[in-house]
Amino acid sequence: SQTIHQWPATLVQPVGSPLSLECTVEGTSNPNLYWYRQAAGRGLQLLFYSVGIGQISSEVPQNLSASRPQDRQFILSSKKLLLSDSGFYLCAWGQGIIGGNTIYFGEGSWLTVV
């Protein structure tokens, strides 16, 4: 069975510090990978998605970046965090049309920038 792991679960970082959130998927190959952000009590904003190694599509211009160094690894980074980067970050995977377009989420990472 497929599983998705996302860490760290909780993070408190000062303004201007770097960020690295990691997500890995097990039990599948060549998944589509997604990073979403959810502000408190709000909907999900798609930040990045990837259909293959080294292929990253950015949805929102910001000081965040994403990388996919391996097939089942997706990393969200920032060189200098802003207060507005606080939120709940969710990684997800899917198989596109083959998988019925359903995506499966990790448990999320709470980021508080102070």
Binding site: G43, L46, L90, A92, N101, Y104
Partner: protein, 111 residues
């Protein structure tokens, strides 16, 4: 950009009653999905309805889709306290592999 918009934003009903949530979207879709999110957790997939389907059932869930109105509804029958959560609709198009979510409906089941 936000594709789906759920309505209402929040809904409180008595346990045992039916809960109906609506979703409207803007562009042509291949399918529409509903997800559930418990507070502070990841989202869980509930049901998918394809653009050529009008209604779909799964247990106590009933989803309808009206592509002419670009809208969908999720009905939860005989609600339970455990149904308390946020519910999101999500749309997918074949132009790319993006899945776009709405802002969600916060459902609260009163005992």
């Amino acid at each position: 950009s936000q594709q789906g918009e759920e309505d209402p934003q929040a809904l409180s009903i008595q346990e045992g009653e039916n809960a109906t949530m609506n979703c409207s979207y803007k562009t042509s879709i291949n399918n529409l999905q509903w997800y559930r999110q418990n507070s502070g957790r990841g989202l869980v997939h509930l049901i998918l309805i394809r653009s050529n389907e009008r209604e779909k059932h799964s247990g106590r869930l009933r989803v309808t889709l009206d592509t002419s109105k670009k809208s969908s509804s999720l009905l939860i029958t005989a609600s339970r306290a455990a149904d308390t959560a946020s519910y999101f609709c999500a749309t997918f198009t074949n132009r790319d592999d993006k899945i776009i979510f709405g802002k969600g409906t916060r459902l609260h089941i009163l005992p």
